[in-house]
């Protein structure tokens, strides 16, 4: 009797409840978008923290035009050929140096200006195409890092935040490789905590230039570069007249004087990539060389790092695919106990792991690249971070398994596996500085990204939920009822339907079960996040163990989404071997 009373109450409440209407806070609807020049897109990942799956962002899986496809295919051939014929990875690793002829060959191929627009002499590739070529350059870790340090971060500042004059002055010779670029942020005392750098730039008496003083450490291409993107503290006068220390980004030419570099570091892996200290002593930097605004350097740094991160996904996938190729030949020919290795379950498991990881990494990387290629400057920083964490750790695990398949041979320097292992280890470490609240005391690097992923998402969720609470407090009955009903339904066990399957579903019917699981996971993730926020409030920032699990969950959710989206597309367009993907 009590049960039916509750049900009656529910029914009454539901009837009384006003029709679901848009959030109280202003949203960029279709009409509003026309008024704004750059509507901030509520990208995909942050919404996951609310238990919402914005399917329009990820379904259908991004397509590229036939023209672009033909172009990419044309590019892949010569690059692959070059890497197969002209790149001696073993020698590069042994000598800890990329031979000048090889470097010149890379420049001639055009690989130093992949994302620089055509008008400045580059190839003007989209993120998707850049990711595709990243699959090939990753065949040699040292070359991949040299190229990435040059263009994904070294000159990226000029590309995304530079003035027309700066672009016209520097980009052409950077595109041809005549000048190589380097990104100078890290200092002996500031690694993960990028905001604590000590290098200083003081404005001269005549206000025409800055004097740069300081030391940077572990700078890739530090010994080769002639153009540096340097981050330093500058005194800035606030709007209220207060003098503050803020970070500014500068384009520094070696020719400005006072720029010296140390000897190349002797590293575990990517030994052919030049890494060294770079010192600036009273280097004169003209004020025209400030990137963005004085005092706006931190944001520039974060934007640079965020924009290049996703390509690690495709680079790792490319490398794993190569490893699968190499190891499967061995596994199919080597016999022990009168059976081919490939017939043993544990060996098959390793291949399974590699194949799955490579597939998901690819899916995530290209999904993110596709999202970033859409017009409107979408903010995909969280997605890119997720791709990076998943790919770097996946790559490490897969390389280890690949080496294992070869057994003792894998351990020998005659085979490339130990080099891949050493080269891959850095992926979990570098490219991870990101904007985290200063109060965070952290060590390590993918660790940082996990915190970033979790906190950014929870911050977003927190804001929305706070707004809802405010609305309730203001007496918005509709919202209050909505929340109450939701919670009630949750505790009674609800059926989750986020629109992935069914008549209007975006997922192919064969993937129904997987999609349903994803929906449920997303929904309950949202509930969990809500619970965490109400339990911890602002102190969630300190709870690293909790945040780590949150990050892991959402990374997996993104991975699931990417894989399902891609597989769905493959079936829908009848791609060959789509049944393997399913």
């Amino acid at each position: 009797a009590a049960m039916s009373a509750v049900l009656l109450l529910l029914r009454a409440l539901r009837a009384a409840r006003p029709q679901p209407r848009p959030q109280p806070r202003p949203r960029a609807g279709p009409s509003a978008r026309g008024l704004r020049t750059a509507a901030p897109r509520r990208a995909f990942a942050k919404e996951l923290f609310l238990g919402t799956l914005r399917k329009e962002e990820v379904f259908p899986y991004p397509e590229i035009s036939n023209e672009e496809l033909a172009e990419i295919n044309q590019f892949v051939g010569p690059v692959e050929k070059f890497f197969n014929e002209e790149v001696d990875s073993k020698k590069i690793d042994q000598d800890a140096k990329i031979p000048p002829e090889t470097l010149q060959g890379l420049k001639d191929l055009g690989l130093f200006g992949m994302q620089i627009p055509e008008e400045y002499g580059g190839l003007g590739l989209s993120n998707t195409m850049y990711a595709r070529l990243g699959e090939i350059t990753s065949l040699d870790g040292s070359i991949a890092v040299t190229l990435a340090a040059h263009q994904a971060i070294g000159l990226k500042g000029i590309l995304i935040a530079g003035t027309e004059e700066q672009k016209a002055k520097y980009l052409p010779r950077l595109a041809s490789g005549e000048h190589i670029a380097a990104f100078c942020l890290t200092e002996p005392g500031s690694g993960s905590d990028a905001a604590s750098i000590q290098t200083r730039a003081t404005l001269s008496e005549d206000g025409k230039h800055f004097l740069l003083n300081g030391s940077k450490v572990w700078i890739s291409n530090g010994g080769l570069a002639s153009i540096f993107t340097v981050f330093a503290r500058t005194e800035v006068v606030d709007k209220d007249g207060q003098v503050k220390d803020k970070i500014t980004a500068f384009i520094v030419e070696r020719d400005f004087g006072g720029v010296t570099h140390g000897k190349p570091e002797d590293k575990l892996g990517i030994r052919g990539s030049n890494t060294c200290e770079v010192h600036f002593e009273n280097t004169k930097v003209p004020i025209e060389n400030v990137i963005g605004e004085v005092g706006g350097g931190f944001k520039v740094a974060m934007n640079i790092l965020n924009s290049g991160r996703f390509s690690m996904g495709s680079a790792s996938a490319g490398m794993i695919k190569k490893l699968i190729e190499l190891t499967s030949e061995y596994a199919c020919t080597r016999k022990q106990f009168n059976k081919k290795l490939s017939q043993f379950g544990l060996i098959q498991e390793k291949f399974c792991l590699m194949a799955v990881k490579a597939y998901v990494m690819e899916s995530m990387a290209y999904l993110t690249a596709g999202m970033m290629d859409r017009p409107g400057f979408p903010d995909c920083s969280v997605e890119a971070a997720m791709v990076k964490v998943f790919s770097s750790e996946g790559a490490w695990a897969c390389v280890s398994e690949a080496l294992q398949i070869l057994g003792g041979l894998g351990y020998m320097k005659d085979y490339p596996y130990e080099r891949y292992l050493r080269d891959t280890r850095i992926l979990l470490i570098f490219e991870a500085s990101t904007s985290i609240p200063l109060s965070l005391q952290t060590a390590g690097t993918n660790e940082i990204l996990r915190m970033y992923i979790a906190l950014t998402g929870m911050q977003h969720a927190g804001k929305i939920l706070t707004d809802k609470i405010k609305a309730i407090k203001k007496g918005n009955v509709g919202v209050a009822l909505g929340e109450f009903l939701t919670r009630l339904q949750d505790s009674l066990g609800r059926k989750v339907d986020l629109g992935l399957v069914g008549d209007h579903g975006v997922v192919h019917p064969s993937l129904q079960d997987n999609a349903k699981k994803l929906e449920e996971n997303v929904y309950y993730f949202g509930t969990t996040v809500r619970g965490l926020l109400s339990r911890f409030g602002k102190t969630i920032v300190e709870e690293q163990l909790v945040l780590k699990r949150v990050a892991d969950v959402v990374i997996n959710l993104y991975a699931m989404t990417a894989a399902i989206s891609r597989a769905s597309r493959s079936i829908s367009i009848g791609l060959r071997n789509h049944d393997h993907e399913v």
């Binding site: 010569p78 050929k81 191929l109 055009g110 055509e118 060959r576």
Partner: protein, 254 residues
């Protein structure tokens, strides 16, 4: 040298690095989904032509191919390597495209474009026929310099150093002439990505093969069966020359 036009024939073949497999049915080699690229000897021929133009000896390099729509990819690579324009003599799927058909198409193009030199690869790595250049020269009644390992143009003549079984042979041929390139003629350049982008703007003309006189219809040569070579059986070491001779005689080899 005024207006010396070079016509280069290129063929789209299965990439040399691919492990070739027999297609189900045993009548052909698996081509579906397999990586294709420009025939290496054609690449060498093209490189030679581009070098002639860069040296100022030739004025224009035209790349041509007989094939289906897919050959456009190959012609784009040729353009990226330095050809000025390209022509595709288009065939339908399954139509004959052996040396005879290719030579006919090229002869038709020669009449249209009036080159002074036709440069071809000595053979294609899929069928290894080594006939097209020779057939073409006969059709046009032009002198031929095959297996060229060095090419030097003079006024009205071309000096060709050929690799033959006995060593090297040098010929002086009157222009116009047909030359086929051998391995040591040169080392082809990489098509750089900026050049590939520039190649998009270069003209690529498509002509139906029939217009050039290529007979339509299936190949006159029918492939009955394709099979993989038998796996290598173990060898045997012998102690002396006599026992070697004895074993060979026993196996019916001598």
């Amino acid at each position: 040298m005024a207006a010396l036009r070079v016509l280069v024939g290129v063929k789209r073949v299965i990439d040399f690095a691919v492990k070739v497999r027999v297609a189900p049915g045993g009548g052909a080699v698996q081509t579906q989904g397999v990586k294709h690229s420009l025939n290496p000897f054609c690449e060498i021929a093209l490189e030679e032509a581009v070098r002639l133009r860069e040296a100022g000896t030739a004025s224009e390099v035209i790349a041509a191919s007989l094939g289906t729509k897919a050959s456009q990819e190959t012609l784009r690579t040729a353009l990226a390597m330095g050809a000025d324009r390209a022509v595709l003599a288009e065939l339908g799927e399954g139509a004959a495209a052996g040396p005879r058909e290719v030579a006919t198409a090229l002869a038709g193009l020669v009449r249209k474009l009036q080159p002074q030199v036709v440069l071809l690869g000595k053979q294609a790595i899929d069928d290894d026929c080594n006939q097209t250049g020779q057939l073409l020269a006969a059709m046009l009644d032009w002198p031929q310099g095959t297996f060229a390992s060095r090419v030097q143009l003079e006024a009205g003549h071309v000096l060709v150093e050929r690799e033959v079984d006995g060593g090297l042979e040098t010929l002086r041929l009157r222009l116009p002439a047909v030359l086929t390139a051998d391995l040591r003629l040169n080392e082809p350049r990489y098509a750089t990505l900026p050049n590939i982008m520039k190649a998009k703007k270069k003209p690529l003309e498509v002509i139906p093969a029939a217009e050039l006189g290529v007979p339509a219809g299936p190949p006159r040569l029918k492939v009955l069966q394709v099979q993989e070579p038998p796996p290598r059986a173990g060898g045997e070491k012998v102690e002396s020359v006599e026992s070697l001779v004895g074993k060979l005689r026993h196996a019916g080899r001598i």
